[in-house]
């Protein structure tokens, strides 16, 4: 308000000055005509009228410039920022102004501020329009979509994601993806491990996982998805990682139910198998010694086959249990050489039928292991079974065990069989995976190595394979010595530590170790 009062005062002063000068000139003119020049009659009248006419012409002409200058400056400022003439009119310089400089400077600065606000609004509108576009596409997408920032925090979740995860998108954003999504993967190759590896070395990368379980409150077993991820380092939108989920719960749980159904059917084989093995034993003991060598060989072959069938039934039952999250481990202190010997001596018969020998090489000073007796037996039996299957007749299989440099008990089963093609090595621990080239010659369910891996990982160990085609394969796994088991587990559970073997690898590092 102060600027305006000032301006009025200045304006009034100037107007007063102009009128004063005008009146003074008229008076001076009258004085000169009357007293100095002493004109009379028509001459005097003409001179007196001429003076006001003259000032009427000159004074407005002279004063208008000054009085209208503020308006001109404002006009200039408006034209300077107006979109249609922007650039044609130079910016006004209010410091040159005599009248109302403060007011005009202030008005012009207000104008510029307004203009910048308008410009900002315009820009926001463009972005809002773009966001609306993205939102529309993302929300119309019938697949859950999540965008993560550099720190793996969710910065965008579409409506479908919110629907599947049962939380409003606004609740999801800001959460760490591993906290928001209780994801479990089929193997150690998880989103977390992939992202960690990718961030170090790639600018963009894509990846897809099958059978990712996402645990949801109130949903038994959770939903099963395929997960696709796109990584783009330093993406200007801030969306560093995009995740899309494909719901395959129905298809996958049908598979699992089928497995459960098979397991149920296979269970019925147990009684006949019990009998078969019992009768074979009776025959072997009572008439075996009198039989000729060929018949004795047949008897051994029959026994080995019955045992193999029993092991197959056990494998199917166990995998079905794992799928149903019902395999639990009872960790006890076990002498390791005896564990190995128990499995090896049981498998010697099967090996012997094909003239294969199993040798052991176990380090002397091994500590006792903290393991589940039943599942370790199954693990060793499966690795030996695998080695026997892929060995040639009269081959030798070596089982060795030692304490490795990490203080873990490391056990290897080596054969001199056909070996494994490098291209399939990454998949051989997958469920139902089988070496297709060998499918015709070598039987199996494709469950043995999957079961082996699940058992080892439930024991917090690792399993891996090295292989050379034509030279054989070595499967190696680690188990934890009893004295290295978590002190807390030991304290709470005495010598009896129960651990769930769910066969699914939790994504989050919290769940490991």
């Amino acid at each position: 308000m102060g600027y305006f009062q000032n301006f009025i005062r200045q304006f009034r002063a100037r107007l007063f000055l102009v009128i004063f000068i005008n009146n003074a000139l008229i008076l001076a003119d009258w004085y000169i005509v009357d007293r100095v020049v002493r004109l009379t009659g028509w001459w005097a009248l003409a001179a007196i009228i001429a003076a006001p006419l003259l000032t009427l012409g000159i004074i407005p002409w002279l004063s208008t410039r000054t009085l209208t200058q503020p308006t001109k400056f404002l006009w200039q400022a408006i034209m300077h920022i107006a979109p249609s003439t922007a650039g044609d009119v130079p910016a006004p310089k209010p410091e040159q102004l005599h009248l109302g400089r403060e007011l005009v400077t202030n008005l012009i600065s207000q104008l510029y501020q307004l203009a910048s606000v308008v410009q900002g609004v315009e820009k926001t509108n463009v972005k809002a329009a773009q966001d609306l576009h993205i939102n529309f596409v993302a929300n119309s997408l019938p697949l859950p979509l999540l965008a993560l920032d550099k720190e793996d925090k969710i910065i965008y979740a579409n409506e479908s994601a919110a629907k599947y995860l049962g939380a409003p998108a606004t609740d999801l954003t800001g959460q760490n993806v591993y906290t928001a999504l209780d994801m479990s993967f089929m193997s150690n190759d998880t989103l977390n491990s992939w992202l960690t590896a990718t961030k170090g070395k790639s600018v963009t990368a894509d990846r897809r996982w099958e059978r990712v379980r996402i645990g949801l409150p109130g949903q038994h077993g959770g939903l099963q998805f395929d997960l696709a991820a796109h990584y783009n380092q330093d993406n200007p939108t801030g969306y560093e990682t995009l995740l899309v989920l494909f719901d395959h719960t129905k298809a996958y749980s049908e598979d699992d139910q089928a497995l459960g159904f098979i397991a149920m059917g296979v269970h019925e084989l147990r009684t006949p198998l019990t009998l078969l093995r019992g009768y074979i034993e009776v025959f072997d003991e009572e008439i075996g010694p009198g039989l000729d060598p060929e018949m004795q060989r047949f008897m051994r072959q029959m026994d080995a086959s019955a045992r193999q069938l029993t092991a197959l039934v056990d494998n199917i039952q166990n995998v079905a249990k794992i799928e149903d999250n019902q395999l639990t481990l009872q960790l006890h202190e076990e002498p390791w050489p005896e564990m190995i010997e128990a499995a090896v001596s049981d498998m010697r018969l099967r090996a012997g039928v094909r003239g294969i020998t199993i040798k052991t090489d176990i380090a002397q000073d091994l500590p006792t292991a903290g393991v589940d007796h039943y599942s370790i037996y199954e693990l060793l039996a499966n690795l030996l079974d695998n080695a026997i299957k892929y060995s040639k007749e009269k081959d030798e299989i070596l089982v060795s065990a030692k304490l490795n440099t990490d203080g873990l008990i490391e056990t290897s089963v080596s054969d001199h069989g056909a070996g494994i093609d490098g291209s399939i090595l990454p998949y051989i621990f997958d469920k139902f995976y089988r070496n297709h080239r060998n499918r015709a010659q070598i039987g199996g369910t494709g469950l043995g190595l999957y079961l082996a891996k699940t058992i080892v990982e439930a024991h917090n160990g690792n399993i891996w394979v090295t292989s050379k085609q034509g030279e054989g394969s070595t499967f190696t796994f680690t188990v934890v010595p009893y004295n290295k088991l978590e002190e807390t587990s030991k304290a709470s559970g005495n010598t009896n530590i129960t651990r769930s073997a769910h066969g699914w690898i939790k994504n989050h590092s919290l769940y490991r170790n």
């Binding site: 397991a263 269970h267 147990r270 009684t271 198998l273 019990t274 009998l275 093995r277 019992g278 009768y279 074979i280 034993e281 009776v282 003991e285 029993t310 039934v313 056990d314 039952q317 249990k321 019902q326 395999l327 639990t328 009872q330 129960t498």
Partner: protein, 135 residues
């Protein structure tokens, strides 16, 4: 002067009660156990099995879980309940082919003295297992 009676003539042979409804399996077990020097009785259902067990004349009870009458678990519960059965001298071994949830199995194992999956052992191995039982 007293002389030791020969083993074969005294009733010192260990007595086994086999509660098992699958005739062919019990037949094989009886055969193997008798050969190994045990005296074996077979009961085909849970009720008769329970009554026989409560006579406390056995050293070992082999108890199948899937039996008619009363299930093995019910029999086990009664045998281990001090208000229904005075403490038995017999060791109770569960013999089954039933696939248990692991926690259920742990529960049964706590009450029994042993647990055997029949498909996993031969009669001969059963004998070996019993010979390792204490007492």
């Amino acid at each position: 002067m007293t002389t030791m009676e020969p083993d074969t003539e005294t009733p010192s042979r260990k007595r086994v009660l086999c509660i098992e409804d699958e005739h062919f399996i019990s037949e094989l077990y009886v055969r193997a156990l008798t050969k190994a020097g045990y005296e074996v009785d077979v009961q085909l259902d849970g009720i008769k099995g329970l009554a026989a067990a409560q006579t406390d004349t056995y050293d070992i009870i082999l108890l199948d879980l899937m039996i008619p009458g009363a299930t093995g678990i019910e029999v086990l519960r009664v045998l281990r309940d001090p208000t229904k059965t005075p403490k038995l001298r017999a060791k109770i071994i569960i013999t089954t082919n039933l696939e248990q949830r692991d926690d259920a199995r742990a529960d049964i194992e706590q009450q029994a003295d042993g647990y055997i999956v029949k498909a996993e052992i031969t009669p001969h191995e059963l004998v070996a297992f019993l010979s390792h039982l204490d007492g």
